[in-house]
């Protein structure tokens, strides 16, 4: 964030690419979480609790992915509006 005046110019980096990489990481992380939930071959009460909590965590990360994708869309619109689209 430079705060400089003047017409919009392309930024030093395209956040869209970074966000896309983050989405990929989150997708992989979600896969890891789902695998971690089903991986446990253990029927103890603690394992049941663990599965439920990991499933909740996976859902939360999935919601984060949606938020990130929405942010990507907003960035694209903004940058288009700023003359880069």
């Amino acid at each position: 964030m430079t705060g400089a005046c003047g017409p919009p110019v392309p930024g030093p980096a395209d956040p869209t690419a970074a966000f896309a990489a983050a989405v990929e990481l989150l997708a992989r992380g979600t896969d890891q979480l789902l695998a971690a939930a089903v991986e446990v071959d253990w029927e103890a009460p603690a394992a049941e609790l663990y599965r439920a909590e990991v499933a909740e965590a996976a859902l939360a990360v999935a919601r984060d992915i949606s938020r990130l994708k929405e942010a990507m869309s907003r960035v694209a619109v903004l940058r288009a509006a700023g003359g880069q689209g």
């Binding site: 964030m1 919009p8 446990v40 984060d64 003359g83």
Partner: protein
């Protein structure tokens, strides 16, 4: 896959995360392999989430376009929709904040992944917090210092030992009595210790007691009866409490008598007298009713409950309270019995329980569950570990709360559950921390670090020996351990619990007194 970097959460933990379990039935090799793989995946997921958060944070700075950040611009190019680009600045800033908020959310979820992996490993008994090198060094220094102090007391002969005996009996019993020092003096060192000091010293209290006990025993080997370490030191102190004028007494055993409702302060026995305990926690909680101050029971009272199930099967539960007098008293629930028990010497409390059981008419095939708090827990464990007792009675289970039981060995096949917290100090008076208690398939120790808890009550209790040692604190510990579904705890509790309740229940209360005082 053996090495794990999963760490316990930093800072104050949720109360259930302050529980650690030792011993019990371990998971199978297949189960432990799957748990380790799952924990590794959780750690990998946490890494991915943190990497994504870093990318989002870095990119968020590029969201606000150069030239649109400042609202007061001299040139305001059109955005193509008729709006000046500067008008986009608030939108860009809001987006930047949204992305940063998302990054924070990702970091929180990464921390959660680490926490869940750690909890899984802990519940499976595959994670144990190791003492740091610094902690080990401090522990060794504390032991050495306490050894010197104990040896100095012991080398002073009778007077020195009298001082040590007074100090130890007063301290031990003052702590064991849970604040009910009916015959004691108000000079207990624990009262002078600030809450912060108690909290800080708690992890090293086992080293303090081990060093002191060994030092006293080393200085007076004849009185230690050949016992090494803290048992020898306790033997020396037991001798002092019995033999020295003013401190000792020449009693000739114990007398055990049945008591009636009129003997209780409010003229009636505890409300639970004709109902069985529906859980191990409830059985432990009932012990509070046997203390004179909290339950109105006469000093030295134990409860023997007979439970008959729907099939006619009979089982018994014995509830044994803790120390009620720092100094030798007219009943055996005193500081003298504490040191006698730790020294593995004949004592009045176990004798009283044995007589109560004999009077109750317990059949040879009727399981007996012993539940004790503090001194009561040591007495219960001592009975179970004694040759002959387990042959005479069928032991259904053993539950102790706030009792130093690490020096005692229980027979295989008997489910045993020990509840401890380092901040109570009492359970370390055998020189063993909870992690050093015997660990077998049948024997489970649940320890809770109050000082690591985020709960305000736990934090307060962590600086208050009496509160940390109270029955209610230990009941909460067991509640939490069962709540997190630790299979080692639920397994042993499930073996003990069903024997505590039935369709027909009656309770006999006994009062024990020393004879000849």
């Amino acid at each position: 896959m053996t090495a794990f970097l999963t760490m316990p959460p930093d800072g104050p933990r949720s109360p259930s995360d302050t529980v650690t379990v030792f011993g019990g039935a371990g998971v199978t090799a297949v189960e432990s392999d799957s748990v380790r793989r799952a924990a590794a995946r959780m750690a990998a997921a946490a890494d991915d989430l943190r990497s994504a958060a870093r990318l989002c944070l870095a990119a968020s700075e590029d969201v606000v376009l150069p030239g649109v950040a400042g609202a007061a611009t001299s040139r305001q190019p059109d955005d193509g929709l008729g709006r000046p680009v500067a008008a986009l600045a608030p939108v860009a800033r809001a987006l930047e904040e949204a992305v940063q908020d998302l990054a924070r959310s990702l970091i929180q979820h990464a921390d959660l992944c680490d926490l869940l992996g750690w909890r899984l490993l802990r519940a499976a008994g595959l994670y144990e917090e190791a003492e740091s090198t610094a902690e080990r060094v401090v522990g060794a220094l504390v032991t050495a210092g306490a050894f010197g102090t104990g040896a100095a007391f012991g080398s002073q002969g009778g007077l020195g030992l009298a001082g040590a005996g007074l100090l130890a009996a007063g301290e031990l019993a003052g702590r064991l009595g849970g604040g009910l020092i009916t015959g004691g003096a108000p000079w207990a060192v624990s009262g002078r210790l600030g809450s912060a000091a108690v909290r800080d010293l708690a992890p090293y209290s086992d080293e303090v007691f081990a060093g002191l006990g060994s030092g006293v025993g080393q200085a007076q080997p004849g009185l230690a009866n050949g016992y090494p370490g803290i048992a020898g030191g306790a033997g020396v102190l037991a001798h002092v409490t019995r033999e020295l004028p003013l401190l000792g007494n020449d009693d000739q055993g114990v007398r055990v008598t049945r008591i009636t409702a009129e003997d209780f302060a409010d003229g009636s026995p505890p409300a639970w007298s004709d109902t069985g305990a529906r859980s191990v926690q409830e059985a432990v909680a009932r012990i509070d009713s046997l203390y004179p101050a909290t339950g109105g029971a006469p000093p030295g009272t134990v409860a023997v409950q007979k439970v008959t199930g729907p099939d006619g099967a009979v089982s018994w539960t014995v509830l044994i309270p803790g120390t009620q007098s720092a100094l030798p008293a007219e009943h055996p629930w005193d500081g003298r019995t504490d040191v006698e028990l730790v020294a593995d010497q004949a004592d009045g409390a176990t004798a009283a329980v044995e007589r109560a059981l004999a009077d109750s008419g317990v059949g040879p095939d009727e399981p007996v569950t012993l539940v004790g708090h503090s001194l009561g827990g040591i007495a219960a464990t001592a009975l179970v570990s004694r040759a002959g007792f387990a042959e005479r009675y069928r032991i259904g289970g053993l539950v102790t709360a706030g009792s130093p039981t690490g020096l005692l060995t229980t027979p295989p096949g008997i489910p045993a559950l020990h509840l401890e917290t380092p901040e109570e100090l009492v359970s370390h008076t055998d020189g063993r921390s909870a992690s050093e208690n015997p660990r077998t398939r049948d024997r489970v120790t649940v320890v809770r670090s109050l000082r690591d808890s985020a709960d305000a009550d736990d934090r307060a209790a962590s600086g208050d020996v009496v509160w940390a040692h109270s029955v209610s604190t230990h009941v909460r510990t067991l509640d939490l351990a069962i709540g997190v579904g630790d299979h080692r705890v639920t397994e042993v509790a499930d073996r003990i619990g069903p024997r505590l309740d039935g369709t027909t229940v009656s309770t006999t209360f006994y009062r024990a007194e020393r004879v000849g005082r």
